[in-house]
């Protein structure tokens, strides 16, 4: 036997999955879901970080995009969001930030991964907000001004509601990207849903890699579907006045 050959099953279970474990055998084993390395805990970690990132991205990108679009400013920023913003290498950004964060005493998490994911989430939300506010029906905007609305009210009560569907679309795209990318944090000293892929790769355990990938893909898909459902649940008026409104409807109303 090897020096450590006598290790108990409990020690092994805490540390790693059996190397020849089947994908579904692992997924359907209740033990895989509980405990500090369990799927529920990992899902919670991933969901928390992603929610925080999306919340921050919405808080920054929506007001910025809306105000700039309303003022007809910031074309350059919008162009930048399309081109440069989408080319930011998330893993490299997070990886470069880790040693810096550690040296400053911020810890390996969450600053580096949060920043990297935020940079990933900002462009689609900013771009959709900017484009949709800018494209809000000029007739409606003019009418709002004609009845004496202040600029602030024009933006908040006319342009933004008209843009809501497209803005939400941007948030959905960003959220799916963030959820699908968040697992890189497992390679940067953190955990979350990516841990199973990381451990599977390190321990030569294909079952774990595939199961981990399935979990990540499922969660990303579920996120997308959840935002679609939210879009459907928007108040009727907002939804119908959105960018997707068929042209015929306007004729009926006027």
């Amino acid at each position: 036997m090897t020096p450590g050959g006598g290790h108990s099953a409990a020690v092994l279970a805490q540390a790693a999955a059996r190397r020849d474990i089947g994908v579904f055998e692992w997924l359907f084993d209740p033990a895989s879901w509980t405990g500090p390395a369990g799927i529920l805990r990992s899902l919670g970690d991933t969901a928390t970080l992603c929610a925080a990132v999306i919340a921050a991205a919405v808080a920054i990108a929506v007001p910025l995009g809306a105000v700039l679009a309303h003022l007809r400013r910031g074309e350059v920023l919008a162009t930048w969001a399309v081109t440069v913003g989408r080319a930011v290498p998330t893993f490299a950004v997070a990886g470069l930030l880790v040693p810096i964060a550690l040296r400053r005493g911020w810890g390996a998490e969450p600053v580096p991964i949060f920043t990297a994911l935020l940079l990933l989430a900002l462009p689609p939300i900013f771009l959709n907000t900017y484009t949709a506010v800018r494209a809000a029906d000029p007739a409606a905007v003019d009418a709002a001004r004609a009845i004496g609305m202040r600029e602030r009210a024009v933006l908040l009560r006319v342009e933004l509601p008209l843009a809501a569907t497209t803005v939400l679309d941007g948030v959905r795209v960003a959220a799916v990207q963030v959820v699908a990318t968040e697992p890189i944090r497992a390679f940067l000293g953190g955990d979350g849903l990516g841990r199973y892929v990381r451990d599977g790769l390190g321990q030569n355990n294909d079952g774990l890699v595939v199961a981990g990938a399935l979990l990540i893909a499922t969660f990303a898909a579920a996120t997308g579907l959840a935002f679609t459902a939210v879009g459907r649940a928007l108040p009727e008026g907002v939804r119908r006045s959105g960018a997707r409104r068929p042209r015929t409807e306007r004729k009926e109303r006027t």
Partner: protein, 308 residues
């Protein structure tokens, strides 16, 4: 930034292909003629190849340049792959000489055999297995590029057993958590029986040092030749229960090539005896931290020892 580098790699590849082609021709000729440029050597060209990490690339350069200086007909190939590829290339005759680590060889050749921290015991396992493949293991160097449990300089622990009462947070790569010679051995009551306060999974490499320095973890599973250990003022704990397998550096050569060159075994043994673990650390610092080229580092070391 990246363009010149790619050009360099492309050029290097081209050059190597050209040399390889030329030497292939040479080889046939010298077999018949029995002479080439060298002094003591009359056999076929010795093709040496490093594995794709800096320490092993430097080792291949050290052995290659040394043999060339001793008058052997040597060709240093472009580094490729890791242990599996090295063994494959030796077996199918693409490469004649590789420099590897004995404990790793044992895990590759006989995964179920008992590992040992005693190099002689590891050699006794792998020597016959290599022989079956037509390969000869030469005398291992005392240089050991193995596992190391590393703590910050101000830690009160000196040996691994001392960790038992310290309630430390452990950091290691994911593979460590399923290996008996790693996490399982540390926590196994029959071996070290240490209880860690928490564990963190960290990619193997400089990240381990960054996390240890930032006190995210208190002890990390690293390697004896990581140059960052000294850089950060960390210390390596003594493996007082002999859990880690010996990973001494040793040349592995195709037996027919070894026998074709008089004095080759002696030359290799002499060089292996010169290399120490500290030398490996020094080379890794030069290549990984100072970003120097392995062939340059090898040349400088050989010159400093009067071996060129």
């Amino acid at each position: 930034m990246s363009r010149p580098k790619w050009w360099r790699i492309a050029l290097a590849l081209l050059a190597v292909t050209a040399i390889a082609g030329a030497c292939g021709g040479d080889d046939d000729a010298s077999d018949g003629a029995g002479t080439d440029g060298g002094g003591e050597s009359a056999g076929p060209t010795i093709r040496i190849r490093g594995q794709e990490f800096s320490e092993n690339m430097t080792l291949a350069e050290v052995y290659g340049q040394y043999l060339a200086a001793r008058g052997f007909d040597v060709e240093i190939l472009t580094p490729a792959g890791f242990r599996t590829e090295a063994l494959d290339a030796l077996e199918n005759g693409q490469v004649d000489l590789v420099i590897d680590y004995i404990g790793g060889q044992q895990t590759a050749l006989d995964p179920d055999s008992e590992t040992s921290s005693d190099p002689d015991e590891v050699v006794s396992v792998i020597e016959p297995l290599l022989e079956e493949k037509g390969l000869t293991l030469l005398e291992p160097s005392e240089a050991n590029s193995g596992d190391a449990l590393v703590v910050r300089g101000d830690s009160e622990a000196e040996k691994i057993s001392d960790l038992a009462g310290l309630d430390y947070t452990f950091g290691g790569a994911s593979e460590c958590y399923e290996r008996p010679q790693c996490y399982l051995g540390f926590t196994d009551p029959e071996v070290y029986g240490i209880t860690f306060a928490d564990t963190r999974t960290i990619e193997f490499g400089p990240q381990l040092g960054d996390n240890l320095a930032a006190e995210q973890v208190d002890v990390v599973m690293w390697g004896t030749t990581a140059p960052q250990i000294e850089e950060h003022g960390f210390k390596i704990l003594e493996d007082d229960k002999g859990l880690f397998p010996a990973q001494n550096v040793a040349p592995i050569i195709r037996t027919e090539v070894l026998e074709a060159h008089e004095g080759l075994a002696e030359a290799l043994d002499e060089l292996s005896a010169e290399i120490s673990t500290d030398d490996l650390v020094e080379w890794n610092r030069a290549t990984d931290i100072d970003k120097r080229e392995p062939d340059d580092v090898a040349k400088e070391w050989l010159e400093s020892r009067g071996l060129l």
